[in-house]
């Protein structure tokens, strides 16, 4: 193995200058660009969240008018989902999948370049709407008509942003599927694939199935606004609720597009630091597939309050509750992986444990909201805001951060500053709870979501939440410091990086050569430690 790697070094001619990045077809460089882009968008979306929390710090309007507040909540969501989380997942996939399956690169490198470079243009379109007459989109990221149709000049920009993002994601997904199906090293059978690769194959299929639906829905919005169609206009014989059905048929799988790669990352990290193989590998694969499959049959639980027939409400309640079973299997498998291990608690492990604890809290509230009659109370309140932030922030984002800490030494060849990393984890883990836990109370007490101002009985918990929000935002600066330090230098990382690490990427040098596995490795049961 190391012989092959050394051999690679001889052919390690990197292109230089700006062209290296603009025209890159190298999975490592493209992965890096995705991750850097994601980090930038994380801070842009985060800045918007700070505006939101500043306005909600106390009752009364102090900083922004209600119209701008709505633009902030809408664009915060779009930026975080499509600009921060999804590109982070694709970035990790780009970096890791070829190295994990023993392939020299992605199957379709030029398409890989295009799918990344669409993103900066898409977000330029989206963010430019903030400077237009009528402002940016303010009807919520869910873009429900008829409200979204009231948007001014920014409307077509919003729609084309979605189209661009969809094209980018679909190309990324095709690439991942083509890579894994065709470029696995000899002996790397499907049931020997690392779980991160498995979760990404399943995610890729979700993307290909869901994104075109979204593109179709927003195209119907576009023709409703400019070409006098009435898909969603009741006065013209259309149906505003149909948009919600179509949107959530995309939107629910989208939730799993965000979380499944996170499950994969945690399933890589836990066995490393427990020094014990992943418990129930096969059941993890099947549970992931089951969650993905079920995700297409539960969409209407996002819209219980639109007034569906009783039979529909009952069906979507039962179907939604059933997702708790495969999700539970995953949590129990992770617990069994830790059980009787020999654990150490480096930063990636801390983030993974934080993920399991806090994602589970989000799972519990998810179960509560699946129960239709009670959801009539929870729906569109801060309870749901707390729920989805628990699954996405200390859920998906913690997993991505854990993944970055886990593989950063592999990518850069240097160990990061462990002390600062731990500070980052503990600051984040504490402040994220101060930020989001009180929002459960606010929602139960009756505070609706997406409001710029509130009656005074909600003042106390909003202030606590805002303080948590500012502290969480500041804590993320530590992350940037750690990454910059680690890229610039530091203690030399070994090839294996972590004592308990397994998998093909850890057989390569740290940092890996520009072109790795130009000669495919031979994988055996012993080396394929999933």
């Amino acid at each position: 193995m190391s012989e092959a790697a050394v051999h690679d070094d001889h052919h390690d001619h990197k292109p230089t200058g700006i062209g290296r990045w603009l025209f890159s077809t190298n999975h490592k460089d493209i992965g890096t660009m995705y991750l850097v882009f994601s980090l930038i968008m994380f801070f842009i979306g985060g800045a918007m969240a700070m505006v939101i929390r500043a306005e909600l710090f106390q009752p009364g309007l102090q900083f922004v008018d209600p119209g701008f507040f709505n633009q902030m909540t809408t664009i915060h969501a779009l930026v975080m989902i499509f600009g921060a989380l999804m590109p982070a997942g694709v970035g990790l996939a780009n970096w890791l999948i070829p190295m994990m399956i023993g392939a020299p690169d992605m199957a379709l490198p030029r398409m890989n370049n295009m799918s990344f470079w669409i993103l900066p243009f898409a977000f330029t379109l989206l963010l430019s709407t903030l400077f237009m007459d009528g402002g940016g989109p303010a009807g919520g990221w869910t873009m429900y008509p008829p409200l979204v149709l009231q948007l001014g000049d920014g409307f077509p920009f919003l729609i084309f942003t979605v189209h661009f993002l969809g094209i980018s994601s679909i190309m990324g997904a095709i690439n991942i599927i083509a890579t894994v199906f065709n470029m696995r090293a000899p002996g790397m059978t499907y049931m020997r694939l690392p779980l991160f690769v498995w979760t990404w194959i399943i995610t890729a299929f979700l993307l290909i199935a869901a994104m075109p639906v979204f593109a179709g829905a927003v195209t119907m919005l576009l023709t409703d606004k400019y070409f006098a169609t009435s898909f969603f206009n009741a006065a013209g014989g259309g149906d505003p609720v149909m948009f919600q059905h179509v949107f959530w048929f995309f939107g629910h799988p989208e939730v799993y597009i965000l979380i499944l790669p996170a499950f994969g990352i945690v399933s890589q990290i836990l066995p490393t630091f427990a020094r014990k193989p992943l418990f129930g590998y096969a059941s993890m694969v099947y549970a992931t597939a089951a969650i993905a499959f079920l995700s297409f049959f539960v969409w209407a639980h996002h819209m219980f309050t639109v007034g569906m027939p009783l039979a529909g409400e009952l069906y979507f309640m039962y179907a939604t509750m059933s997702i708790a079973v495969p999700t539970g299997v995953k949590i129990f498998n992770w617990m069994a992986t830790m059980w009787k291990g020999s654990m150490t608690f480096e930063t990636p492990m801390l983030f993974s444990l934080g993920f399991i604890f806090l994602f589970t809290i989000g799972g519990f509230t998810g179960l509560m909201m699946g129960v239709t009659p009670v959801d009539f109370q929870y729906h569109d309140t801060y309870f749901i805001v707390a729920h989805f932030h628990y699954v996405l922030v200390p859920g998906a984002i913690f997993a991505v951060m854990g993944g970055v800490y886990y593989w950063l030494p592999k990518w850069t060849g240097h160990m990061y500053n462990e002390k600062l990393g731990k500070w980052h984890f503990w600051l984040s883990a504490i402040t994220v709870n101060i930020l989001f836990f009180p929002q459960h109370f606010l929602g139960l007490a009756g505070m609706p979501r997406r409001i710029p101002d509130y009656s005074v009985q909600f003042a106390d918990w909003n202030m606590v939440s805002s303080i948590g929000g500012f502290a969480f935002g500041l804590s993320q600066l530590v992350f940037v410091v750690v990454i910059v330090q680690c890229v610039r230098g530091g203690q030399k990382a070994t090839d294996q990086v972590w004592e308990g690490a397994h998998g093909l990427e850890f057989t390569l040098p740290s940092p890996p050569p520009f072109h790795s596995f130009t000669t495919p490795p031979q994988v055996t049961e012993a080396t394929a430690h999933s």
């Binding site: 009752p59 193989p277 639109v306 007034g307 079973v325 069994a336 604890f357 509560m368 997406r450 509130y454």
Partner: protein, 380 residues
């Protein structure tokens, strides 16, 4: 003298203490769902508590095991490594047990849901229509309807940098000009729909919310068990002032409800009779300013400047300084595809005459036109 001032102090102090008390009470650190005042809301609350306890107990077990494992199975404690990675029995167990727990939750949930959908045999019907950004209530059996919007004091205090402390306003953002009055101990069918975009009618104490969707009529029911004032809000994002269209339900005894219906209908008839006459320009301007601030200023702003790209300015606009008929037409019928509503359905002839007169003679607009209720009636 002393007695009198003492009495004044006491008179002043009682509301003061009450006010302080109310801020203390209202600024509570509330944690849990409200129990509410209807049969449905009690069932929903009980269901909420059942699930909350179920997940809390599961959470304690799961987190407990993880915590134990983290404490004891750590390398620094010299944990001896096991290499097991599979157990069919364990995996079947932790698949079956959650399924059983889910069934235990699903049974009462199904019962409550079925009950919530029993909208038949109601004794009266209230239709709720969402508008940007107010509610209209139609008492379907009474030929009575009115709009209900954010209370004046709240509306002043909620402006950006108004300088008014929200805590000094009674029921800040949860007070309306005209509350919807409903009888207790009566099965009331509540229909929700909307005029422009999707809204959602939600009074937590009634135990549910339901979207108000243009072109759709959703039906629901309630049976309020206790008299009192119950406050709620629009729960579906409906544009700029989504946060400023509260709901106030006054539940009174069926006898008081009958009295209120009679009085309100009489008051509406009187107002109508009084408005059907020639108005003086001053009168129109004063009344017009009131109407403008409650119906128009949310978009076109109090100074008539609007918001570029979203809401056109009225100050110097072609419509507000052009022909009177064109101006009346757009105010009465609205403009399709924009947020401009058809105010013909919302305001009386006198209100419309006043507000149009006001718009044509305010800011830099000086057409000198006076529009009378009779003109509006003719233009309808």
């Amino acid at each position: 003298m002393f007695v009198k001032s003492l009495r004044n102090i006491i008179r002043g102090a009682v509301p003061m203490v009450l006010l302080l008390w109310s801020t203390v009470v209202s600024a509570d650190w509330a944690l849990n769902l409200r129990e509410g005042v209807t049969q449905i809301s009690h069932e929903v609350y009980d269901l909420h508590m059942i699930i909350l306890w179920v997940v809390t107990i599961i959470g304690i077990i799961v987190f407990g095991i993880m915590a134990w494992s983290i404490v004891h199975h750590r390398k620094s404690k010299g944990a001896v490594l096991a290499q097991f990675h599979h157990s069919t029995v364990a995996e079947i167990t932790w698949t079956i047990i959650p399924i059983l727990i889910l069934i235990v939750i699903a049974v009462p949930a199904t019962k409550t849901l079925v009950l919530m959908e029993q909208t038949g045999d109601a004794e009266m019907t209230l239709k709720v229509t969402g508008y940007q950004w107010k509610w209209k209530y139609d008492y379907m059996d009474e030929d009575l309807s009115f709009f209900s919007s954010l209370g004046k004091a709240s509306n002043e205090a909620r402006q950006l940098n108004s300088g008014i402390d929200p805590a000094s306003v009674d029921n800040y953002l949860i007070e309306v000009d005209k509350p919807v009055v409903l009888p207790t101990n009566t099965k009331i069918r509540i229909l929700t729909t909307a005029n422009d975009v999707i809204h959602s009618w939600w009074v937590p104490d009634l135990g549910w919310k339901r979207d108000a969707i243009p072109g759709f009529i959703n039906d629901n029911w309630t049976y309020i068990e206790e008299t009192g004032t119950y406050r709620g809000k629009c729960a579906e994002l409906c544009g700029k002032d989504h946060g400023f269209m509260p709901i106030v339900v006054e539940a009174v005894s069926p006898e008081d409800y009958r009295t209120w219906i009679a009085e309100t209908k009489q008051a509406q008839a009187d107002a109508l009779a009084n408005s059907d006459r020639e108005w003086a320009q001053d009168e129109l301007m004063t009344h017009g300013e009131e109407i403008y601030n409650s119906a128009c200023a949310a978009c076109h702003l109090a100074d008539g400047q609007g918001v570029p790209g979203a809401f056109p300015a009225l100050d110097g606009s072609a419509i507000a300084t052009g022909s009177v008929d064109g101006h009346m037409d757009i105010v009465l019928k609205g403009k399709a595809g924009t947020a401009m509503q058809a105010f013909g359905q919302q305001l009386s002839d006198a209100d419309l005459a006043a507000v149009i007169t006001y718009e044509r003679n305010s800011w830099s607009n000086a057409t000198g036109d006076v529009v009378q209720p009779a003109d509006v009636k003719a233009a309808r």
